[in-house]
């Protein structure tokens, strides 16, 4: 009897020791359950889907890497990546430069109407994209748009801003810049405000000019923020969907069919296996680009 009691007591002690060990996991378990249901499961489903041909009805046909081979040998797929790459070149470098310039101005405590400028820069970022896209359609209309009207006043010919393959991408890039540069300014302004003022004071005492301070202090010290911005905007540009969908529907002649829109076209046509394969190729590409950007823009001390 005594032995039994001792065993029971030992088990109870072990149980009470185990309970505290389990409890942290029980607390974080809801996250994992939700993550598994809405993150892991859809990911695995999509991965398996990418190896099948399925149009949403009947049994899916296993095609192995057929969808991947099809995409990688399809000029339309590469054209969509090319369109996104050109958009990236038209957007990200300009946005980093313009965003940094605006952030430096807004960080200056002596700037008059600073609040007004901040609101003006942020306003497009919080305006619904579809509303802005409609404005773009009207302003850049080839026949009745404001821009061509102004060009006409100075004797210049009308330009097919949204209807020519040469101009459609820059016009869409401008919309993207207009919409998201406010976000870039927020990120860079936060980075700038984290730089201690004493650093600039010391540089001034040492005789560094404003320009020299900008290049030798500001830019290196906000390098992390720039890297973050480049990564986030690379993701956004390669996933860009709503802008071409609303403004140009991917035209003219597919010249604004971005990688995101091309992916959507498979899904909207119920070509779900190809759409899933396209998603994974895009994820790999964006992951590689982001990794490259992070490595390239990593502060020097981290590299060493």
């Amino acid at each position: 009897m005594a032995g039994l009691t001792a065993t029971t007591a030992r088990r109870a002690a072990i149980g009470s020791r185990r309970l505290p060990r389990l409890s942290p996991y029980l607390f974080i378990a809801p996250f994992f359950v939700v993550f598994a249901a809405f993150g892991v499961y859809p990911l695995m489903y999509a991965l398996r889907l990418s190896f099948t041909r399925w149009r949403g009805a009947g049994e899916a046909t296993w095609v192995g890497v057929g969808n991947y081979v099809y995409l990688l040998t399809n000029p339309d797929f590469w054209a969509s990546l090319g369109n996104s790459a050109v958009m990236w070149l038209l957007i990200v470098p300009i946005q980093v430069v313009a965003g940094l310039g605006a952030a430096v101005l807004l960080a200056n405590a002596r700037l008059r109407l600073r609040g007004l400028f901040r609101v003006a820069f942020i306003a497009p970022f919080v305006t619904p994209l579809v509303a802005m896209a409609q404005v773009w359609i009207v302003v850049f209309d080839e026949d009745y748009g404001l821009v061509n009207h102004v060009l006409g006043l100075v004797g210049l010919p009308a330009v097919g801003w949204l209807t020519s393959t040469a101009w459609a991408k820059p016009t869409l890039a401008l919309l993207f810049l207009w919409k998201t540069t406010g976000f870039a300014i927020i990120i860079l302004l936060a980075g700038l405000q984290a730089v201690p003022g004493a650093v600039y004071e010391a540089a001034s005492i040492d005789g560094a000019s404003r320009w020299r301070q900008f290049w030798s202090l500001t830019v290196p010290l906000v390098r992390r923020s720039i890297a973050f911005l480049v990564v986030v905007q690379t993701l956004a540009v390669f996933q860009m969907f709503a802008e071409p969908y609303v403004v140009t529907e991917g035209g003219p002649y597919g010249s604004t069919t971005t990688a995101g829109l091309y992916l959507y076209e498979h899904i909207s046509a119920s070509d779900l296996g190809t759409g899933a394969a396209n998603s994974f190729l895009l994820v790999l590409l964006v992951f590689g680009l982001s990794l490259g950007a992070v490595r390239l823009l990593r502060p020097k001390e981290e590299v060493s």
Binding site: P24, Y25, Y45, A57, Y144, A269
Partner: protein, 453 residues
């Protein structure tokens, strides 16, 4: 206090293991879908009074929803025991996904004919139910709703192509619209008008690739063909398409074309200014003179399309919709009763097309596809003031009677716009020849769409 490393690893392993097992077991696409579509039998209820229950019906939003809402009111007078939960839904965005997922599926829905063929496995086979009406339904509508010999949609509207023209300009130029009986006549008439006023570009060709291809298909249907046959085989390489594309090229080379996007600012302006004189387009263009063309309202008229060959069909269909009953509908029999009422009974189709509070003169953007409704002497909608009081009903039903049968629209039709639609635009812009359009489009449609469908 420290937690053993093994415990943490074990927990993560366990979690990952459970996730992987769940994923491997449950991630089979299409696993839950029935491969054999259900056949809907005739409802067992013997009288309208004994039909009881509730159905959810999806429809498009806007004025058409209001029109159908009123028509459903008439249905409920006939079937007082059936409650209809009529919902305005973005059908293009939601219906296909809902059918695939199988959750919250409506009992019936309005849907584009172009979408039905691709999702037939999720729909009830309505062949037996439609059988009594089969001989009275426009052959085109039956053919686009038929997949593998089975009918999956209740054919609703028919959208005949018509030749819209400016009566005043034709009179000034001495062109008799009744004399435009072939497409060659149309080019001759356009040249005559252009000689009188060199600024005109009389014939509208559309700048939107999707609508441009839909229009091209109307012209193909008029000649009894379509992009794919009933087995899904491509028929682009044919005399009919070559003839159509050649005609477009002749019109372009003769500078007889206004190339503008459908009823956008540039189109409306050139329609109202007199630059455009002929618009070969579906009946739904009637909306333009009624609501958009301020300067030329009352000056437009409609005629049957010209024929491609003397004595050939004077119309083809452009667009159109039907009603579907999902295989997972809760009350499919009651949904059928509603659609049978709307499509095949006089009170039903009259409630939609006849004068109503939304359209006092009636709905004039299409005609029913049920032939007993298409009597020239018994119009459903009234003559239209914006067309100078013309009896559009008579013109439309006579044209509709000539529309040839077609084939179900293939599941890849919308994707083919990237090839045929875009290349047709290149032809209109003088960048491609008809042979190039056919060869290039056929190659890509075959490789990228048909071989993979």
């Amino acid at each position: 206090m420290s937690t053993p490393a093994m415990a943490r690893r074990g927990f993560l392993k366990g979690a990952l293991g459970i996730g992987a097992l769940a994923a491997a077991g449950a991630c089979a696409p299409g696993g839950g879908t029935s491969a054999a579509p259900s056949k809907l039998a005739k409802p067992t209820t013997t009288s309208s009074a004994s039909a009881k229950g509730e159905i959810t019906i999806w429809n498009r939003s806007g004025d058409l929803f209001k029109v159908f809402d009123a028509a459903i009111g008439k249905f409920r007078e006939a079937y007082p025991g059936v409650k209809v939960n009529h919902q305005a839904v973005d059908i293009d965005a939601k219906l296909a996904n809902t059918l695939i997922s199988g959750t919250d599926v409506p009992d019936g829905s309005f849907w584009d004919d172009a979408k039905i063929g691709g999702q037939s496995e999720h729909l009830y086979d309505l062949t037996d139910l439609i059988s009594p009406y089969r001989d009275k339904i426009a052959p085109y509508k039956l053919s686009v709703n038929t997949v593998g010999g089975k009918i999956y949609g209740v054919p609703w509207d028919l959208d005949p192509g018509l030749l819209w023209y400016r009566e005043d300009i034709l009179q000034d130029a001495g062109v008799d619209p009744a004399g435009i009986s072939t497409y060659d006549d149309l080019l001759t008439a356009a040249r005559t008008i252009k000689e009188k006023d060199p600024k005109t570009r009389p014939i509208h060709l559309d700048k939107n690739p999707f609508l441009g291809q839909l229009w091209l298909e109307m012209l193909a249907n008029q000649q009894g063909t379509s992009l794919a046959d009933a087995q899904g085989k491509l028929r682009l390489e044919s005399a009919e398409y070559r003839r159509t594309l050649g005609w477009i090229q002749d019109a372009v080379k003769g500078e007889l074309v206004t190339h503008a996007p459908y009823l956008e600012a540039a189109d409306i302006n050139t329609l109202d200014s007199g630059q455009q004189v002929f618009v070969p387009w579906a009946i739904w263009w009637s909306f333009a003179p009624q609501q958009l063309l301020k300067a030329t309202k009352g000056k437009w008229r409609a005629a049957p399309l010209p024929a491609w060959t003397p004595g050939g069909a004077r119309s083809g269909a452009m667009g159109g919709s039907s009603f579907i009953i999902p295989a997972k509908a809760k009350n499919p029999e009651l949904a059928w009763l509603l659609y049978e009422f709307l499509c095949f009974t006089e009170p039903g189709y009259t409630a939609v097309y006849g004068p109503n509070s939304i359209y006092p003169g009636g709905l004039s953007t299409s005609v029913p596809s049920f032939s007993p409704a298409l009597r020239p002497d018994k119009p459903l909608f009234k003559p239209i003031d914006a067309l100078g009081g013309q009896d559009l009903w008579k013109v439309a039903v006579e044209a509709a009677a000539t529309i040839p049968a077609a084939a179900p629209l293939p599941v890849w039709w919308a994707q083919s716009v990237d090839y045929l639609g875009d290349n047709t635009q290149r032809l209109i812009e003088g960048k491609m020849s008809p042979d190039d359009v056919i060869a290039e489009s056929a190659k890509k449609i075959q490789r990228n769409l048909i071989d993979r469908s």
